[in-house]
């Protein structure tokens, strides 16, 4: 039986692009003041890769470009979603970024510089005070 590498190629490129996208989106959102700039670049790159995928007859390469392109388009959307996470305190704010600093300074702000997720699960629900204590007490 002949081996078809296309599934493996897609899996590897999908995994890597999700991983790199996941890390980069958080970083880019944290250091950027005007979010439309990285979003516009990601959309342009994503569309360019999809156009390249349409133009290239080589199937493995078209697959890589097609998958990479849509993940970049998704990342543009994730930049916006990451900003919403910061506002809700679901991801740590960067006080050196004026946009984040403004969120932290809002009255009744839920934004925080703490990463609430940075610990191991304990197997039960915790209240907001304990959630903070669990990540700061050690």
């Amino acid at each position: 039986m002949e081996i078809n590498p296309l599934g493996l190629i897609s899996a590897v490129i999908a995994f890597l692009s999700i991983w790199i996208g996941h890390v980069s989106v958080r970083k880019i959102e944290a250091i950027t003041v005007a979010l439309w700039k990285p979003m516009a670049i990601l959309i342009a790159l994503g569309l360019a890769l999809e156009y390249a995928a349409l133009s290239i007859p080589n199937r493995p390469l078209a697959t890589v470009l097609g998958i990479l392109g849509v993940t970049l388009l998704w990342d543009a959307f994730e930049v916006k979603r990451q900003a919403d996470r910061i506002r809700k305190g679901h991801a740590p704010a960067n006080p050196d970024n004026p946009r984040h600093a403004a969120m932290l300074a809002e009255p009744n702000s839920r934004a925080t510089t703490l990463n609430i997720l940075n610990r191991d699960p304990i197997g039960r629900m915790v209240d907001p005070e304990e959630a903070v204590r669990l990540i700061t007490s050690h």
Binding site: L6, G7, H22, A53, A62, G66, V70, L73, G123, M125
Partner: protein, 110 residues
Amino acid sequence: MNAFGLIVGIATLLIIGLGFPLVIQGERRFGYLWWPYMLGIGVLIIGVSLFVPVDWLSVVIGAIGATFVWGSTELKEQAIRAEVGWFPFNANKIKPPFEAIIQKWKAPHL
């Protein structure tokens, strides 16, 4: 024009999208300690894709496998999201086989 790359790209995006409910429901019902099983299932699915002669189907199966592998790295954070109340918490989870051994391993997070 060769629509194959664009179509499998869109299909992959939809499959990755299924990873969200997979992680949320998987963690809620089973708990994050199932991560080695989820990782194993993903690798197995990707292995199966190698033996699928139809190109588009091989890609779809490969993308499903990648979604399971990625999902296994998201379970731990999802468990904490439930513990802090951002998602519903279920105290009666189905425990994984070899739970005591898995607890000694560091759950992956990327």
